[in-house]
């Protein structure tokens, strides 16, 4: 039987002596606040002004090292399904961390962030670690609409941690993910959050690699 199993994707590889601890991170927030841009800045280190509404790459992975431990983020992007509030339950399933993004130049996006936090807590329960990211801080001087203090106050009251970021300049982006990873390590999070992931999982991807039974014994 052992040949039929692989470490499940959501954290089974986090056993002592294994490689990176894997964890699912979901991005939330209104359209156009820069969710994909933040993820792409973090994973690929680049930024495109004309980043299209998410197409083609809504599943990114990146590993960060914290205190000698590797955390591999499986980053789920909304793939535009947030637009008409049609995110599937699957999206939230097993998420251990989330980044709720708003645009500091839009009060509407900040108000919406509140309802995303509520939605998230309803779908995932109280244990998920949530970061609140005020993106587009490079535009603060000209068009800031959401005060940093206001966002920090909200974050404090709801048990989130808050950072202002810029996917365009890269400001605080590494910091955002690094802090999430630290929080996970501190709470020994991966281990306690993997209850659904420990089950035996049939591996569809390794389809050719299994030893086949002999079909004839004569």
């Amino acid at each position: 039987m052992s040949g039929l199993q692989r470490p499940p994707p959501g954290g089974g590889s986090g056993r002592p002596g294994g490689g990176a601890q894997q964890m699912k991170l979901v991005l939330l927030g209104d359209q156009g606040v820069g969710k994909s841009s933040l993820a792409l800045r973090f994973v690929r280190g680049d930024f495109r002004e004309d980043q299209e509404a998410t197409i083609g790459a809504a599943f990114l992975t990146q590993t960060v090292n914290v205190q000698g431990k590797n955390i591999k983020f499986d980053i789920w992007d909304t793939a535009g399904q947030e637009r008409y509030h049609s995110l599937a339950p699957m999206y939230y399933r097993g998420a251990q961390a989330a980044i709720v993004v708003y645009d500091i130049t839009s009060t509407h996006s900040f108000e919406q962030a509140h309802s995303w936090v509520k939605e998230l807590q309803k779908e995932t329960g109280p244990d998920v670690i949530i970061a609140l990211a005020g993106n587009k801080v490079d535009m603060a001087a000209e068009t800031r609409a959401v005060m940093k203090e206001e966002a920090e106050k909200y974050a404090m009251e709801h048990g989130l941690f808050h950072l202002e970021t810029s996917a365009k300049t890269g400001y605080n982006v590494q910091n955002l993910f690094q802090t999430l990873a630290q929080e996970i390590i501190r709470n020994d999070y991966v281990v306690t959050q993997t209850r659904h992931r420990i089950v035996t999982t049939a591996d569809l991807l390794g389809e050719q690699s299994y030893p086949r039974r002999r079909t004839c014994c004569s």
């Binding site: 039929l4 809504a58 399904q81 049939a202 079909t215 004839c216």
Partner: protein
Amino acid sequence: MDEEYDVIFLGTGLKECILSGMMSVTGKKVLHMDRNKYYGAESASLTPLNEVYEKFSKGYGPPESMGKPKDWNVDLIPKFLMANGKLVKLLVGTGVTRYLEFKSVEGSYVYKKGGKIFKVPADEKEALATSLMGLFEKRRFRKFLMFVQEFDEANPKTHNGVNSSVTTSKDLYDKFGLDNNTTDFIGHSIALYLNDNYLTQPCGDFMSRIKLYSESLQRYGKSPYLYPLYGLGELPQGFARLSAIYGGTYMLARPDAEIVYGDDGRVFGVKAEGEVAKCKMVICDPSYAKDKCEKIGQVVRAICILNHPIQDTNKAQSGQIIIPQNQVNRKDDIYVCYVCDAHCVSSKGFFLAIVSTTVETDNPEQELLPGLQLLGQIEEKFVEVSDLYRPIDNGVSSQVFVTESYDATTHFETTCNDVVRIFEQATGQPFDCSKVKTQPEDD
């Protein structure tokens, strides 16, 4: 809404979502709507448990003993994936596997006259070990299985006088001298035919079904079937996500969505909430285009909540029991599919079993009795009789392509055939799974 789409899909059932995913991957501009607020239509898994009580108008809710309602994901139709079947190939080819996790189904059983169930023997070793048949019959059965497994269309040496497009399945049985009980088991619990019509057909399809079963079985050992954690409703969600990633737009909870036709009878668009979205074609399930469908029969299904495993299954956490028609003097088989909390579909200690069959009489629930009796004590039962529809034309002239209702089979092979049919009619191109192969994203 006021945009023009290449395809508008109505209904987020598995078939529509697979097609939506494939159309989006190949560059089509897709809008996908559903009247319900949840994904999956007929192939949804309902959650929380209260939704199930509501859907079946019970007039009361689940008792507290059933645990947290949110722990439940209750399938409306019972199906498993064949480990080596078409749906698994599609899941792997499109990369949708990365959103899902599967468990191997633990047991595959067949019912014999008198009410006992037996493990389905599917290879030579099991054929010799089974208590399903007598000693000499076992040897004939084993020889039959070996012949089918070695049969190779391209190699006449393996044919031994059998022509797969001429020789009937019955002739093939007779060649090996198999008795009626054995042929019943082979035809219904291994080749998975719903009735006995296959006996007079050429044996090519019959043999490939047996091969599919045994190849699927060889993948994971215990049974040829797989089941996705959190229920079958994860499958349409996975393909919907694929579609969305490639630009597909999703709108749920549009109860008034309806197809709008032009004067020439061709589709013009879809109207919902007072707006019309234009499109070149519509692909939908039968409930959105009843005028383009005919009723071809009915299926009765009883969703049962149990607080114990099923007897004589060695406490298996999941399994399928097939009751072949002849064993209970019917024309169509009765199926029992069951899963439990290990699959994240119920709260701890509970099992969900669905008993189903094609309706033959005026008292459909009574027809399920042989299956229900196998379950032991039942905590709650939800019974539904569903009409089966199929489209009356191929959809080419109106550009409205309608999928068929989900039939009584307990796996997804016919589901995939229907997907292929619609894809080919809608695009005019042969279905090629390798074409929808997506680029691995940043892995």
